[in-house]
Symmetry: C2
Subunit: 206 residues, 2 copies
DNA sequence: CCCTCCGTTGACCGATTCGGTTAATTTAGT
DNA sequence: ACTAAATTAACCGAATCGGTCAACGGAGGG
């Protein structure tokens, strides 16, 4: 990889990165042409090869970049600071939306990369996966205090259900392209409000 | 299209159809090679072209076939017979699982086809879409009786939320390939039980 | 004004893959 | 053994692939 890439104006770097995210997220590794990425970034194929030695290097660079961005935002929005469960979800979602505004196809790329079947790529992806996302999550769930929730509620199921609904909503939005993050944030707020109204213990007016 | 295709043993027809569903669901129309479909079906490319005039014809045949299968199952499982909402969802899901057992990639193909960007294909898909799925759904929602649900519940939001969770779950399963419909049916049963426990009016032991 | 970088590109390369055709081979019925 | 249908290998021209390379053009420095 040519380090001069990082000297490029930030906007141009991002254009190239986003072009990579998009093309690689829409096709398998093998069927993602460098020419298409270059075109989407508004540069020539030659220049793309000037900055990245070959396709595989660009792919792995994008993978690492995705992990870096994710952890950056997770930190910025203090998503691991334990508080109220719903507030944590809200913070997590807000971080996700901010990412989607800057890198709309990053999450789609990450999923695709994780399940990529090309032997060479798949090996490298899974090797580096452990490096980034060790355990971390899902311990929030264990430490969940039943107090504050509707009595008798299956907390584990509630959490999985909320997770699936978020993914389902996000996926539906991603499918139809041109994502309106403002609208999505409103929708998700409504969802959260709904969850709170259903799952949280009703405060009896004493 | 060569009508002799329908004289083929049902198992072979299905093999070809499923090969098409899979390849077209994993790549865009343009990047789905006929050779790959033929190989996945265990026949030669020449034979595929013997039954289908060209790629476009095969694609549209699969689209129509998908619609046909869907309506068939929706009928068989009497999914539009109005009863309890949760039971309707259960029936709908059961139909979906039965389809996934016989045609694992059909739903993924349908979604991909609907959002296909290739100009020629996209036009034809949307032309025929109205023919199949006019209005039908979503009127169940309007006719929903608040009686029987927890008081004050936002029914519309509840329905959307359940829909998204189902989609999110299904999507997660689809991603990792090799889908275990038995497990999925169990998971979905648990989900339904959870929803009932949360949304349905609690019967006070009189 | 010329020289030298260096970001950038168009043109090109050999290899591969594409949709589709054709002629021949295999199979099955009689 | 004859025939008709099922099935395929071999092939076609065109397009596309990852990657290279020589050259262009503008900015800076003397």
């Amino acid at each position: 990889m040519n380090n001069r890439f990082f000297d490029l104006p930030a906007e141009k770097q991002q254009r190239i990165i986003n072009a990579g995210f998009r093309v690689f997220s829409e096709n398998s590794y093998k069927k993602s042409p460098m020419s298409e990425i270059a075109a989407a970034a508004g540069i020539s194929k030659s220049l793309l090869f000037h900055y990245f030695l070959n396709k595989k290097e660009l792919y792995m660079f994008l993978w690492d970049k995705g992990a870096e961005i994710t952890m950056q935002y997770l930190n910025d929005y203090s998503c691991y600071e334990p508080t109220d469960l719903f507030e944590m979800m809200e913070r997590g979602m807000r971080a996700k939306f901010r990412i989607m505004e800057e890198y709309p196809y990053m999450s789609a790329f990450a999923v695709k990369a994780f399940y990529e079947k090309d032997a060479e790529i798949s090996a490298e992806i899974h090797k580096s996966y452990r490096k980034y996302f060790d355990i971390k999550a899902s311990n929030t769930l264990a430490a969940l205090d039943p107090e504050g929730f509707v009595p008798g509620l299956d907390l584990k199921m509630m959490y999985r259900e909320m997770y699936w609904a978020s993914e389902g909503y996000l996926w539906e939005m991603l499918q139809r392209g041109e994502l309106d993050t403002a609208q999505m944030e409103k929708d998700f707020s409504a969802l959260l409000k709904f969850w709170r109204s259903v799952y949280q213990k009703k405060e009896r007016s004493v």
